[in-house]
């Protein structure tokens, strides 16, 4: 392991390798039709570590450029851009993480998994068992309103999740701030409606997992839309469950309706749809990852992916189990396990794969800023 200075920069040997590859790519440019990374690197004459970090986060990690590369190993230039940028990306997650002392979780993904999927949920279940009457915990419940809150009081639930939620938001915000500060662009550029809208549209469509229309070389060397669709299932599944939770909060606080809600209520329908996405999406992405050409994968980045996907899958699975068993004596345990896993995800969010969405989106915004600047200067 190379030595690291106090501001957690990318290890110098990795940064050197990354900039070496970018120089080759900038002299070649054959891949410029594939994604945003190549036109973005072509706007530069030399490459700093800041450029490398930005381009690494702009990369969506498909494999088109690797298979098209005349300099891929075993050529003596040994150019493997997807793998190198994946390794750089992981270092940047650590670099931008707040507070810095917790950034080590990126390096010890095993610990992160044990914490988020094991220790935190287990503690949560244990505390629930301690503070809930066994008679309530292990008795069958009718779906009468408020049965969940007999197990865990609404106050405890909202208080714990709001506190953790606020912390997570703060930590993610600080990370994003570090990323953007490193780009050297002003915040006014980030919030420019034109560029923000373009980046948002590119992110929501996963435009750069589209190759040039036929999809990307993932998991093998053939263009395929599989990863794009499984990612859509995961992402939109997540959004739907988030919407379900938000709607439930509105039901509770504004309409005075208490969970659990009927099967055909809006929160349950949204949550179910999202939950299906969060079952199929992560399974698909894990399956694709297993079949991926390992030449292109960075082991560190991969373990972040697996941890995150496994957690999303478990949360969705326990959510469905809770839905199915909510009238039985198992409800209490199911509820505690599900909420414990969600809490585990929340707590480790700023120190796991979840952050990729923020940095990639910010990278897309910067790309849009640069494109706009380029168009303005060529119009002159």
């Amino acid at each position: 392991m190379s030595s690291r200075n106090s501001d957690l920069s990318v290890p110098s040997d990795l940064a050197e390798e990354g900039t070496r590859l970018l120089r080759i790519c900038n002299a070649c440019r054959y891949c410029e039709g594939y994604c945003a990374v190549f036109p973005a690197l072509e706007r530069r004459f030399t490459f700093t570590e800041q450029d490398l970090n930005y381009l690494a986060n702009l990369c969506h990690d498909c494999g088109e450029c690797y298979y098209a590369c005349q300099y891929a190993p075993p050529h003596e230039f040994a150019l493997n851009l997807p793998k190198t940028l994946a390794a750089v990306r992981k270092e940047t997650y650590q670099k931008y993480a707040w507070p810095g002392v917790l950034a080590g979780l990126f390096r010890r993904t095993g610990l992160a998994l044990v914490l988020s999927a094991g220790v935190i949920p287990a503690l949560f279940v244990l505390l629930t068992l301690l503070f809930t009457e066994p008679a309530v915990m292990f008795s069958a419940h009718s779906v009468a309103e408020g049965s969940f809150y007999q197990v865990i009081s609404h106050t405890v639930m909202t208080a714990s999740f709001s506190m953790v939620g606020l912390y997570v938001l703060a930590a993610l915000g600080m990370g994003l701030k570090s990323f953007w500060r490193e780009t050297g662009e002003p915040w006014s550029a980030f919030l420019n409606p034109g560029v923000f809208g373009q980046a948002l549209s590119e992110a929501l469509r996963l435009r750069y997992l589209d190759g040039a229309g036929e999809g990307c070389a993932y998991p093998g060397d053939l263009p395929s839309q599989a990863r794009r669709w499984f990612h859509h299932l995961t992402f939109y599944g997540f959004l739907l469950t988030f919407a379900a939770t938000t709607l439930a909060a509105i039901y509770h606080n504004l309409l005075g309706l208490e969970a659990p809600y009927p099967f055909l209520s809006a929160p349950v329908i949204l949550g179910t749809a999202g939950g299906v996405g969060l079952l199929l999406g992560p399974i698909g992405l894990l399956w694709l990852k297993r079949n991926r050409n390992q030449e292109l994968s960075d082991p560190g980045q991969s373990s972040l992916d697996v941890t995150f996907l496994a957690l999303l899958f478990l949360i969705s699975l326990t959510g469905f189990l809770l839905l199915v068993f909510r009238e039985t004596a198992a409800m209490g345990i199911m509820l505690a396990a599900h909420l414990g896993l969600v809490l585990g995800l929340f707590v480790t969010m700023p120190y796991g794969k979840f952050v990729h969405g923020f940095y990639r989106f910010a990278a897309l915004v910067r790309n849009a800023v640069e494109k706009q600047r380029e168009q303005k200067s060529s119009a002159k």
Partner: protein, 464 residues
């Protein structure tokens, strides 16, 4: 590969022309075996390093702007070859180039609109999405799907030819040799640019200082066998596509990233720190391909592109960073040139540069007066430190010495008669069209057009 059977078509080579021939023959129902001398990773010969194909067209298309009529294409070719071209075959190439893109797309090749770093060829050249290796990958996938047999690491070291008729080839693979029989042969095994001994035969000691931009697998073995077997040749062994590349590039296979495009933005001097050719004669896309030969004729086959900070950002940066210094004297020291001589060359050039409005996009009025050789355009005094330099060597892409063919791509023997069942396509016969000079993207056009014809003709010969 089955030495017990007789294939309809044996294709020797594994690049663009070879695959176009194999796919075309297979689509007509012939059984086809492709023998590629390289390992799988380096398959595709020089096609791996290509990016586009020069294409005639009547009007704007999805990937081409404007129009590029036959007459203009022909004029361009005539200009670069200085007439060293077979007009019948050249016009065939040009006309058929119009139909290539649709056929290529059917075989899985993807195109893209040209963006940057492309020498401004969006009107005349269609760009492959991802470049030549992506194209080659698509062709290999299609060939495999159609049932073309493909062998890698398979070097043909002997062809049995009698009375203009091919019967079998001896193939060396994994250290053992075996005989493969086929009813027809398509020779698409490239030029001889990776054969340093042969280059030395043609160029003398100078060849020791050449770098080979192209594949190390183009040893010219098949070309030599056909020549020894009585095939008529075209062009000559010193003719080739050669550009000025960074002297620090690897000996073989450096490809596109080793090319240096800064030449028209400054001056070029030889090892005596003396200028030797008009750096601003014409647009760079029309002149880049002459600089390999120009450098090859300089002492020790080395030259230096020298420019100042005004040029940064105006050209595609090559793989290696330029050498840099704050004065011309210091730059000379870094380049191991005589400092006084370089200072003299630069000050004479600076004094001769007429003022004008610099514009790389047009033939501007920034020219020199009173120096030899002149710089006709884009001449600006070198006066804004830091100063930069790229060391240059001749970079050989592919050689033009080849076998003569007719419109059906049959190899012509010295008695003027076409071979009965031997066809040639790609670099091994490109000299018929390119006797000298180079026109960006025409190598792939020749390979595609004649590869398809060779495959069709071979299949027709077998299945008639």
């Amino acid at each position: 590969m089955d030495s017990g059977r007789t294939y309809d078509v044996l294709v020797v080579g594994g690049g663009n022309a070879a695959l176009c021939a194999a796919i075309s023959a297979r689509q007509r129902g012939a059984s086809v075996l492709v023998l590629e001398a390289s390992p799988r990773h380096f398959r595709g010969g020089n096609s791996r390093h290509t990016r586009n194909l020069r294409s005639m067209h009547d009007g704007p298309t999805d990937v081409l702007t404007g129009s590029y009529p036959e007459s203009e294409y022909w004029e361009d070719l005539l200009q670069v070859t200085e007439g060293q071209t077979n007009e019948q075959l050249a016009r065939l190439t040009i006309r058929r180039s119009a139909t290539c893109r649709a056929w290529m797309a059917q075989q899985g090749v993807r195109f893209q609109p040209s963006l940057t770093g492309t020498l401004h060829l969006s009107r005349t050249n269609a760009f492959f999405l991802g470049g030549g290796k992506a194209l080659i990958n698509a062709y290999y996938r299609t060939a495999a799907r159609l049932g073309v047999e493909i062998e890698y690491d398979a070097e043909v070291c002997e062809l049995k030819i009698r009375d203009g008729r091919f019967t079998s080839a001896i193939v060396v693979r994994n250290g053992s040799s075996q005989e493969v029989r086929a009813k027809t042969l398509v020779a698409a095994a490239g030029g001889f640019e990776a054969n340093l001994a042969w280059l030395k035969e043609a160029w003398g000691e100078a060849a020791d200082n050449f770098l080979i931009r192209g594949t190390p697998y183009d040893t010219g073995k098949i070309l030599r066998i056909l020549m020894d077997g009585g095939a008529k040749t075209v062009s000559d062994p010193t003719q080739c596509h050669a550009v000025a590349i960074d002297a620090r590039a690897p000996r073989f296979d450096g490809g596109i990233v080793t090319r240096v495009d800064s030449l028209p933005l400054g001056i070029v001097v030889n090892k005596n720190a003396v200028r030797f050719y008009d750096e601003g004669e014409d647009f760079w896309p029309k002149r880049y391909a002459i600089w390999g030969r120009l450098v090859a004729r300089q002492p020790d086959q080395i030259a230096f592109s020298i420019f100042d900070s005004k040029a940064i950002g105006a050209f595609v940066p090559p793989l290696y960073p330029p050498l840099q210094a704050n004065t011309i004297r210091e730059l000379a020291a870094a380049l191991q040139l005589d400092p006084l001589a370089l200072e003299r060359t630069v000050s004479e050039f600076n004094a001769a540069a007429r003022r004008g409005v610099f514009n790389l996009a047009v033939l501007d009025g920034c020219r020199t007066e009173g120096v030899t050789p002149p710089k006709s355009h884009w001449a600006r005094p070198l006066d804004s430190p830091p100063f930069y330099a790229y060391p240059l060597r001749p970079g050989i892409t592919f050689t033009y010495l080849g076998v003569a063919v007719n419109e059906r791509t049959q190899v012509i023997f010295q008695d003027g008669k076409p071979a009965k069942n031997i066809y040639a396509a790609g670099e091994i016969m490109a000299g018929n069209i390119l006797g000298r000079g180079y026109l960006a993207g025409i190598g792939m056009t020749i390979g595609t057009v004649f590869g398809r014809i060779a495959g069709e003709e071979a299949a027709r010969h077998v299945l008639a």
